[in-house]
């Protein structure tokens, strides 16, 4: 073997405990090296993942195709949009992505009940794949959890070209106790299916990131929809009890999680 070329150790050479851990992390470990560089197979794999993630950022969501007519009907799900009217505008004008256009405002006002305990909205964010994969499992869990706790659950809607700051406008329009925005995260190389839940207590136009809490990394190598829903519901209960949200509120891990 030429000097400086190091192969990755085989799984069978690893102690049992290390093998177990390796299976639990999506991080690219024990890949070996070619001198001070990647082995060729590693380099090509990275470029393949990069290409897939790059494509995911540019794609648009089709509500009916993604969720199916039955799901839309069951959840009364409808679509609104922000002032960003194209993907390019969305990427370059964060301010537009934080405001509904006028037609969307009227639609939300006419269709959604106000002053609910838990208002869920779904935003495409930077990954349509995340929304498509996680929301069908997550949304029913959140609605069930709200019901069990006796909370009034708002009518959910989907927001095209959406940024996190839209929570403030949701608050101004619908005055919920707790607002939850399920939004597609930046695709990474390990997954393009990662969803975040951004949450705020009685959001209004004065809110900044300091007033929000986050449950991130809901995907198959991260939090399961069940664990994600538990964390969101636990945080919502904390917010209702404390009457606030944001960095001062330290999320308690749900009791059934290690």
């Amino acid at each position: 073997m030429p000097e400086g070329r190091e192969i990755a150790p085989a799984n069978s050479d690893l102690p049992e405990i290390v093998r177990k851990i390796r299976a639990r992390t999506p991080a690219r470990l024990l890949v070996g090296r070619a001198g001070a560089a990647y082995r060729t197979s590693t380099l090509i794999e990275l470029q393949e993942s990069y290409a897939a993630a790059k494509d995911a950022v540019r794609s648009e969501l089709n509500l009916a195709q993604t969720f199916g007519e039955a799901f839309l009907r069951d959840w009364n799900l409808f679509e609104v949009q922000t002032k960003a009217h194209s993907k390019d505008e969305y990427l370059l004008r964060p301010d537009f992505g934080r405001q509904f256009d006028d037609a969307s405002k009227s639609l939300i006002m006419s269709r959604c009940p106000r002053e609910c305990d838990l208002q869920v909205a779904i935003g495409d964010g930077l990954s349509v794949a995340a929304v498509a994969v996680q929301v069908p499992a997550l949304l029913p869990l959140l609605a069930d959890g709200a019901k069990v706790r006796g909370w009034k659950f708002g009518r959910p809607f989907f927001i095209r070209h959406c940024r996190v700051g839209i929570l403030n406008e949701i608050g101004e329009l619908l005055r919920p106790q707790v607002a939850v925005l399920l939004i597609g995260e930046r695709p990474g190389l390990a997954t393009a299916e990662s969803l975040s839940a951004y949450m705020a207590y009685q959001p209004d136009k004065s809110h900044t990131d300091a007033n929000r809490n986050l449950v991130s990394n809901i995907h198959s190598r991260g939090l399961s929809p069940e664990d994600g829903a538990r964390r969101v519901l636990t945080l919502a209960a904390q917010m209702l009890e404390a009457g606030t949200s944001g960095y001062q509120l330290k999320p308690a891990l749900p009791p059934n999680e290690p």
């Binding site: 192969i7 690219r28 390990a190 900044t208 964390r231 001062q248 330290k250 999320p251």
Partner: protein
Amino acid sequence: MPEHFPFSDLRELFAKANEEKSGDQLAGIAARSEKERVAAKGRLADLTLAEIEQQPLIDPDHDEVSRLLLETFDQEAFQSIKSLTVGEFREFLLDDATSEESIKRIQRAIIPEIAAATAKIMGNKDLILAASKIRNITRCRNTMGQRGVLGIRIQPNHPVDDIGGILFAAFEGLLYGCGDAVIGVNPATDSVETVAAILRALDRLIQIYGVPTQACCLAHISTQLAAMERGAPVDLLFQSIAGTEAANRSFGISLATLREGRDRVVGQHRSRGVHWAGANAMYFETGQGSALSADAHHGVDQVTLEARAYGVARVFEPFLVNSVVGFIGPEYLYDERQIIRAGLEDHFMGKLLGLPMGCDVCYTLHAAADQNSADNLLMLLGAAGCNYFMGVPCGDDVMLNYQSTSYHDALAVRKLLHLRPAPEFLAWLQQNGIYRDDEPALLDEPANRRKLMQGLEASLEGIA
């Protein structure tokens, strides 16, 4: 006859003298043409440093950062440079006759606005050359920043904070000679229990291997302090900071928060049975565009606001400071040209202001950048003498979902530019057979790897 461009005030002149940035365009303050841009640069080059010092860009009555910058400014040392124009000051910094020592003597007389103004009239190569003169050395559990040293932060993040996954990624980093800057984990959740568990696990790994380095969990400052109250060891207290009071408020902090946090961590250091090489105890991250993103920019451009964040940082004598230069996205730094420019500006301004500047050379997948452009910036900043870079397994952060630099990249930069790990850390690498002299040793002898892995197994006991 040349076109005439009137500039109504210093704020406008500063903004228009910037190289093109999508963030300044978003804020509506960028130059509208290349001619206007160069006219602004020319005017800025002719201003004296005193003229800049006398006209604060953000009113001290309305911003505690402006007040802090005034209070911590070395008036006496400023006398020797105040009559220089920005253009003359640029030449002073680049002059072969200007030593590192002579720059250090006036470091505290350089207010952030002067550092920013100088960066605006420098080319990329100037930024590299001038920065390479200045080494800002800091000490915590080891010593960082000497000439010839390149540190690496191991960033072993995990999507659900799995302690085993974090420690395994950290262990792998150590085998590549990374981790002298810090082993620093961004937690996926801001819960006190999780942050405390991560801090305890990293401390155990460091103890078992006897690694002369420091650990950090990059949660909100209040969460780290709450974990510390519960007995978790905090080597470096982390916080993201920005250049205005309002932007810091959006991070949930004020200057008082930072002051109190630093005092408490330094107090805790004294109570621990650990060898401290020095008293630097803070770790800050920054990035151009953060104030605008929080709608807290006061019409000031993002280069100047970034410099002001460094003005905040230096008051708290941090061990590490880095901008996370490509993280913020294309609305503030559109493409690789803008990211590379911002990375070089940030590093230069930070070094000039006295900070132990590193850089998270990175990009997100929605910006017009890729791994090749990250490779470019990595090499340029290596040549500029950047204190440290990030080490992420294969550059792919599986929790934050962005692309940074890898353990392999660390090997490459150190090899190409003949740089070494921090001295205490290098000695440890040599003792453990990970380095032979100043070069990484091959670790494919199964016996050596297996021996080293015993420590990992021990540190995993009871948690995996």
